[in-house]
């Protein structure tokens, strides 16, 4: 596996598949302020005016968290389209588009890197690839990351950003929840720290498996986090959901998270957590 140099030059095209749109100026989704794109990127894709957190790609996430270079794991895993699935579009086409958009073969990048000098296994989900959904490749890569963490006794950090299990791989996707949770049971028994970072959005089968199983659960501000999506809940209870429902701050209040941390403070906070948990 190659060690990739941390790039200071402009991000390659697929890296820009973040929520910060193209152009010299961007409009903040939250405060509607017109901002210099560069000012937003220099601020870790956080709005300098209102601290809205733009969604970022998996690779940018790794750059923001790792001290320097990281070693990517299992880069070549690719779905075989096991159900030969097709809806209004063939799943094989969706996979191809996802690859073109993100430069990855599926919705997760896993790596070994260091955080504040601590060697760590880090896996980050890629929302730009079919909504960060979890099929067999994401399941396998997370399971392997967990196993790597256990075998080398390195802490594990998983950054979730996903609409949940991937429908186009059917029940196989559902079973990845059990597969990863079984691997995490072993990591738990081995007493290796696992930090789960939940970002906007983290819903469905991802929340209902590894994202909620961290020894420490941390979320970025304002992230949508839940099991059922807000629309499904509204249809079920036939009423509007209260403001802030299923957002990070709501989950913190309801005891599901240890902390909500601004992206600009994240690395420092995660490193501090690791120091408190490691021997």
């Amino acid at each position: 596996m190659a060690w990739f140099r941390r790039e200071r030059s402009p991000l390659p095209a697929h890296e820009q598949e973040s929520r910060v749109p193209e152009g010299l100026y961007v409009k903040c989704d939250s405060c509607k302020e017109i901002l210099y794109r560069k000012a937003v990127l220099d601020n870790l894709s956080v709005c300098p005016k209102c601290a809205f957190h733009f969604r970022i790609s998996a690779r940018l996430r790794l750059e923001l968290l790792c001290d320097g270079a990281w070693e990517e794991l299992d880069r070549g895993l690719v779905s075989a389209d096991p159900l030969a699935f097709s809806d209004t579009k063939a799943y094989s086409d969706r996979l191809r588009d996802g690859k073109r958009k993100t430069g990855s073969l599926d919705a997760l990048v896993s790596a070994v890197g260091t955080l504040g000098g601590i060697p760590t296994v880090i896996a980050a989900m890629e929302y730009g690839f079919i909504g960060g959904s979890m099929g067999v490749v994401v399941g396998e890569k997370v399971a392997r990351a967990v196993e790597r963490s256990a075998s080398e006794r390195m802490p594990l950090l998983v950054v979730s950003c996903s609409g949940g299990a991937r429908m186009m791989e059917g029940t196989l996707s559902l079973m990845q929840m059990a597969k990863i949770s079984a691997a995490l049971a072993r990591l738990d028994a081995a007493r290796i720290p696992f930090i789960s970072l939940l970002t906007d959005p983290t819903t469905g089968g991802v929340t209902a498996s590894f994202a909620m199983l961290g020894d420490v659960n941390i979320a970025e501000p304002g992230a949508l986090i839940g099991f059922a999506g807000p629309r499904v809940i509204e249809q079920t209870i036939r009423q509007k959901l209260p403001e802030g429902f299923q957002r990070s701050e709501f989950l913190l209040q309801h005891g599901m998270l240890d902390m909500v941390v601004d992206r600009r403070e994240l690395k420092k906070t995660i490193v501090r957590c690791l120091h408190t948990l490691l021997d």
């Binding site: 996707s173 059990a178 079984a182 590894f210 059922a228 809940i233």
Partner: protein, 319 residues
């Protein structure tokens, strides 16, 4: 309301009823008997070639046995336990201890209701976090007292409501998945009706996973899938087909261990026959699993789920 697959059967049944209401005569008797033969042959044919969407209808049939029906038929001295000791009791998931052929076991499963009042009481078989937490509490008791766990899965899904989200539906399911994987007693899972996504899986991490012939088990309901991918819930039959949710599909993918045959016409036509078949399956599996040293169960269970999604079959490794 009759489902489409039932139409030709209902027509024959109607004819038989009409004849039966006529004054008795040898010719009428002969015709009735001929039609009965035709009906049973027709039923066999229809049920042997149900589409995935039709199976979804059968799996949801209100006449199908529910968890407490299995408990009454296959177990004795059922002692129901209630509450998660954290927040509430959840009638959508029933748990307890019982005897299975003189052998003490823990038994639990989703519970649907038949009439309107029961449906509401059971929340249509959709548990809230307290249901999953109660289930885990009982499974931990089973581990403490070395009782095998037998579960029955039949739910549209975990309840997607405001209160369920507030109390951590996702966390409750996730925690069950991890803890079930490590439980040091045998776990036998029976998907009897609807295996609705994470809400089903939360009690389905077992050493053996059985599935009734006409049950379905899916990552999202066909209607949910159709409304997201096709933007039209009416395309549910296509979604059911595409997602491969039937017992035979899932056995082929290595996600289900044993398909339990149902009587012609489905479990609801002859529950007693189904109970006998399922009884034999559970009995044999329980014998196998109790012969295994308990400390080696979690390892084997981990490996079983670890293999779901196979290199070279469901995914490939490219360079």
């Amino acid at each position: 309301m009759p489902e489409d697959y039932e139409a030709p059967l209902l027509e024959l049944e109607k004819k038989i009823d009409e004849l039966a209401s006529q004054p008795a005569a040898p010719a009428v008797e002969a015709e009735i008997s001929r039609l009965r033969g035709e009906l049973s042959e027709k039923r066999r044919q229809v049920f042997a070639s149900l589409t995935p969407w039709q199976k979804t209808q059968v799996a949801r049939h209100p006449g199908r046995p529910y968890t407490l029906d299995y408990v009454n038929a296959l177990f004795t001295e059922f002692t129901e336990l209630h509450g998660d000791r954290r927040f509430a009791e959840d009638p959508a998931l029933v748990c307890g201890f019982a005897f299975y052929k003189e052998r003490p076991v823990a038994v639990l499963g989703h519970q649907k209701g038949r009439d309107t009042k029961q449906k509401i009481y059971r929340n249509f078989g959709m548990p809230k976090p307290e249901g999953y937490r109660k289930a885990l509490r009982v499974m931990k008791l089973a581990e403490k007292f070395s009782r095998p766990v037998i579960t029955f899965v039949d739910t549209p899904g975990a309840y997607p409501g405001l209160d369920a989200e507030e109390r951590g539906q996702a966390e409750a399911i996730a925690y069950n998945l991890r803890e079930m994987a490590a439980l040091r007693v045998p776990i036998i899972v029976n998907v009897t009706g609807e295996g609705g996504s994470g809400g089903a899986l939360a009690i389905a991490v077992g050493d053996r996973v059985n599935m009734l012939e006409h049950a379905v088990y899916s990552v999202i309901s066909p209607e949910g899938c159709a409304s997201i991918l096709w933007r039209d819930a009416g395309r549910a039959p296509e979604a059911a087909d595409a997602m491969k949710i039937t017992a035979s599909d899932l056995a082929a993918l290595g996600l289900v261990d044993e398909i339990v045959p149902e009587p012609a016409g489905g479990a609801q036509t002859d529950p007693e026959a189904l109970f006998r078949t399922l009884d034999a399956v559970i009995d044999a599996q329980l014998r196998e699993l109790t012969a295994v040293p308990p400390e080696s169960l979690p390892g084997a269970r981990h490996d079983k789920f670890r293999r779901m999604g196979r290199l070279g079959t469901e995914f490939l490794e490219t360079t």
